[in-house]
Amino acid sequence: MRYDSVLDMIGDTPLLRLDPAAHGVPGAEIFLKLESANPFGSVKDRVAWGLLRDHIGAIADEDRVVVEASSGNTAKALQIITSMHGVRFRAFTNRVRVREVREMLSLLGAEVTEMPGLSECPDPTAPNDVFSVIGDLMEGEPGRYHHTSQYTNEDNLRAHYEQTGREIFRDAGPVDLLVGGLGTTGSTRGAATYLREQNPQTAVVGVVAAEGDFIPGIRSAAEMWEVGLFEPDFYDAIAAVDSADAISASLELATRHGVLAGPTTGAAYAAARERLLSGPGGPVTAVVIACDRMEPYLSYYRHRRPDLFGAAAPTTSDPAPSVTAEAMEAWIADGEHVVVVDVRTALAFQAGHLPGAINLRDDLLEQIMEAGTPFSEASRVVFVCPTGERSARFAARAATTGCRAYNLEGGVLAWRDSGRPLAGV
């Protein structure tokens, strides 16, 4: 199919019917709305284009700068669309939490201002949220900025009402259950409004991260009320999913159905299955919004499930060689070269560490060791962590490469509690 602009490729995404033999929910037709098929990779392509389509010409003519509170897919799509039109874009965020997202934004040339500690959505109880920072910026130079305001802009909803919802109905007919992750709430609510007009019985489930947990792109239940577009009464249920279930479900989508979808989609799929399995059963048509792809979240998967990346704890048949503090001190007294590698964070290392230790925090060390073991064979290498559990993994792994690697028994805690000295930075 031929296109003359990549922007024409936004929307009209495929609706994939999952094989009932593979999803295993009796009597259910489960469809995935593959928003990941949008050209920049996510459901936010529609939002970004929906927010800019009618304004981008004027913005370019008036040489204004587009601003938005986003650290993820919206920022990516806005950056691409604005740069295609020769317009500058600035993203404000409290924190970019996924490495690939950060790298992607910088690769595309986005100006990202990170403001740790500020709330990313309008919060009447926070004295300074990202929105008030944007407000101050706009007031400071009237006419200089265009704020797309994805959280409160009704165009966000309209894009999904007019397109996403309509497309789903066209391809699936009346829908009994619609499930989607709640970020700005635009996609689920916009699509659901259309679907309910066609079938008032359509149940809508909004998916959030379990309390205290983190799933990129969606909020926790407690954070939801902060979003200007959120209307709790709109949903039949708000389902809280934890990151472990979200990850498992996304892996299941990949391996059983061949859909490479991110953790938010996993969370929505897990919530949909849970609801269908606990429901009355019978013929039912369910649609799950698959908002983006899996690949941008590899570091998230790696962080949450290191076991899937070959970093499983060593089996008992292959334990890490360990060393006591006394034995290590004896090596040093004998003039051997001993490298002590502390795998804790820089802050913990700074506060107190074994004298002479070097600091390579665990997640960085893991990446280094994927490329090979960086230590000299002439040295003994002793890995330390707070209690000796985490460091054992590194000692075992380094030992298999021929390194003379050891795990310090009891970790820094036992070292400290035995009265041995700690150095601070």
């Binding site: 820089a346 107190g352 601070g424």
Partner: protein, 461 residues
Amino acid sequence: MSARYPLPAARHPIADRFLADGAAVEEAIERFGSPLHVVFPQVMAENAAALTHVLRRHAVPHEVFYAHKVNASTALVAEAAAAGLGVDVASSAELDRALAAGFAPHRIEATGPKSPAFVERIASLGVTANADDLWELDRLAAAAPSGQPSGSNVQVLLRLSGFASPMVPHSRFGIDLADADAALETVRRAPGLELRGVAFHLDTADPAARVDALTESMAVVAAAYRKGLRPSVVDIGGGLRQRFVEDPEPFQRYAQALAAGPGELVWPGHDVVAPAAHKYGNHRPATEVLERFLTAEIERRPVAEVLRECMLTLWIEPGKALVDHAGITLASVLYRKRAAGRDLVVLDLSRNQVTPADQEVLVDPVVVDGRGDPPEKGVFLAGRLCLESDLISRRKVFLDAEPDSGDVLAFVNTAAYQMDLSASAAAGHPPPPKVAAVLDGGRFTFTAETPADTFDDHHGS
């Protein structure tokens, strides 16, 4: 007809049950008189369990100290002891009550500015001292018994302030970071002192401020290690909020109306300020504030894990959060009148006996056993002192029923600072007595607290 702006207070089920039990309220007033402060130790136990549950779930080594200063109630301090908490005392009188409640000295921590006599007692009993100043450290060093076997020294926390981060509010308390080295040196040289750790207290619920203060405090931990000291505790103080309302909406509506012009809402000559971020608009539980701190990130890692990596035990000193909803105040309606063209309800209570530091309370009281439709018009609540300013509400309150002479008004959720912070015995009206109410098998049983316990300050500090 002007609009109604009621500010309905969130009510704990136990308070709800008590207020719905007209006979129980009547019995309490008959036996102990009006006005009356009623505390609910069971609610405090519930609050303590909720906070420790969050800490356990995040696997953070921790201790929770009840900040006794929020309420002089002996029943509440006894409940803190029974719940396995520590206690944070701010005076000799509070120390006495903590000891009487059964706290061993090593479960007691003393914070705030201290008199020389109080410092002496702390040192001789072996209470942990949360040091507010270098002067106090010198005093402690002089008072600490020396030549003790290691481990029985006086434990010291350095309360830090003067953080560089703009997120952290300025404080008049604590040792400036610039003086931290001198403080560490004092502790190192004193044979009877042992550095337990570092402390700070922030007057904000913002997790980012605590993260910044924690990060800056770690430099002091590092400096302590360099001096051969062994800090093992970081104390982040209290500052966890109360939850006065179920729903922030009525408060926001009220705040907007007030901002548009006080008009009929405020008694002439007074200012009632309700900024948007006011505490009465808060509907987030303290557990959530704590959770947000533990899951906030330092170096892309949750605080809970960073604390484990730093090998520090987390101490918190909640007061408000532990007694949130653990008390109500009852007062009888003396009579109603018109004055200055407004409706007044006169109570047998004084403003300072239910209001902390003269701050207006922005939730409405409840008419016990009130019947009928809520009155259209709001009223002002007046106290019994010979002061024009003794208005219990300087703002118009919108009650849920018409109050008549002899009716009882209940002020909900008054256990944190509202009972004793400012209470005076002006005009010979003693501060209201306190009674602990315990729900047992569907009935409330009452235990009076003796006034001697409540106003015991014979140590004069």
